[in-house]
Amino acid sequence: MTLLITLITGVMLLAAIAVVVLRGLLAAVAALAAVSLALSVLFVLLRAPDVALAEAAVGAGLSGVLLALTLRRVGLWPGGPAREDEQ
């Protein structure tokens, strides 16, 4: 169990570093979703299934979608449809 937790924590921290390091914002958002996913696995391992479910649904799912939508809205999604009407 310690090994598993260490592994997942490592993945989570790497993804978190990727959030800061990656230059593309969409990639950063995807890395954030990965952080949430790893976090929800950790929650399962910590015997918190309720929290894990919430984290997976809200953190990994809806937050990522919301952020991606915002990126499209402000024209930062590369090739996104809102590119042309940027002021």
């Binding site: 921290l13 978190a16 800061v20 950790l42 910590l46 402000v74």
Partner: protein
């Protein structure tokens, strides 16, 4: 390296990386990403603090005694925190969209500079960011 040290290190790591994104980055969306990371770190910490060795999840099954469960209280708090965190995220992103509409950029220094220019242009006493919002 015990499990607790790993988890605490993970929580601290998330917290610090998020703080870095909030303080050092100049892009508003990146600041918000940092905020989400900080929230995640705190959530992980709370759940880890409530963990007990050799205990079950706080959901009753037949023939289980109540003493063998992890602490359900932090979990309830974290559940609330996750949902509210999402609300905060949504509001923050709405504000970001608005800032983008008003200034055409999400660079914090650029926005601050534009706001200063606006304030100086509209003279003292005038409402700041509202003035040129629909340009």
């Amino acid at each position: 390296m015990s499990t607790g040290a790993v988890l605490y290190a993970g929580a601290i790591g998330l917290f610090l990386i998020g703080c870095y994104a909030m303080v050092a980055e100049r892009h508003l969306i990146r600041n918000i990403l940092g905020l989400v990371l900080v929230e995640s770190g705190v959530n992980l910490l709370l759940v880890a603090v409530g963990f007990r060795e050799n205990a079950a999840a706080p959901i009753l099954k037949a023939g289980q005694s109540a003493g063998m469960m992890v602490d359900p209280l932090p979990q309830a708090l974290v559940l609330t925190a996750i949902v509210i965190g999402f609300g905060v995220l949504a509001l923050a992103l709405a504000l970001v969209v608005r800032v983008h509409q008003a200034y055409g950029t999400l660079d914090t220094r650029e926005v601050a500079r534009l706001m200063r220019v606006e304030r100086e242009a509209s003279g003292p006493g005038a409402a700041g960011p509202r003035a040129g919002a629909k340009s």
